[in-house]
């Protein structure tokens, strides 16, 4: 009886969360990929993207969120983001420029800058998302 009551008490929140989550994710992607021409970028997008998962965890319980995005995947993504960033830098070196030189990444400097900042911001975004979610996991799961 009690359990049923509690579940119903959260009904509004659950439905609203379900409705909102896709839009939050979409907004995060917009901030991410619009970041090279307008305000935005990896940091902000990463936090917004993580916020969608965090609110899911708050409303439906961390265990359910873990099924969606397991800590192992998060750990891989965390490392992958940093690697993407560093390897973009190294790619610039291999193509004859300095570390993190975007000009040489593509035939013209303009599109090179575009690709470079895209890759780096994607790396930042992935890392920030996964770090935020893993912070949430580790604090939410320590029971005392």
């Amino acid at each position: 009886m009690m359990r049923k009551y509690q579940r119903q008490r959260h009904r509004v929140l659950q439905i609203v969360t379900k409705l909102l989550t896709p839009f939050v994710l979409l907004f995060a992607l917009y901030v991410q990929f619009h970041g090279d021409y307008g305000p935005g970028g990896g940091f902000q997008a990463g936090v917004i993207f993580a916020a969608a998962f965090i609110i899911h965890g708050l409303i439906f319980g961390v265990d359910k969120t873990r099924l969606v995005l397991s800590p192992g995947v998060i750990r891989v993504l965390m490392a992958f983001g940093v690697l993407l960033y560093a390897l973009t830098g190294v790619a610039g070196m291999l193509l004859g420029g300095n570390f993190l030189d975007y000009n040489v990444l593509a035939p013209s400097a303009l599109s090179g800058q575009h690709w470079g900042i895209f890759a780096v911001e994607l790396g930042v975004g992935i890392t920030v998302t996964s770090v935020m979610i893993s912070l949430f996991y580790s604090f939410a799961s320590s029971r005392r």
Binding site: P39, F43, L110, L135, S138, F139, S142, R144
Partner: protein
Amino acid sequence: MLNFLALYNYWVVIVLMMAGLYIMIARHNLVKKLIGLSIFQTSIFYLYISMGKVSGGTAPILIGKISHEKEKAGSATSAAAEQITTVVYSNPLPHVLILTAIVVGVATTAVGLALIVRINEEYGSIEEDDIRAMEQRDPV
């Protein structure tokens, strides 16, 4: 007196900074210490941001259009380019720097909180006096 008030942003910084330092020194609760540290760091963010403000300046976002073909041809003296040079904008560099410093601050807070969680697991307390008493009883 007016000069005194005109620099109000620095007074905010000083008050926040001292409050943060005081909390860190005077409070024995580890979480409160960490909050003090956050306030202290926030005051530095204010310091940087107010430093970059140019009075009457807007956000440093391009107004008008630059066409890249024109720039390449070296004839960028169009009306649009002129408009850009006359726009007064705040110095964006301190803002960018502080974005980095905020991230660093978040990371510090996260590490600190994680340490507090572990301390609470091991000692069963986050009051510095209790912890110190327990440390003195420890053989090591």
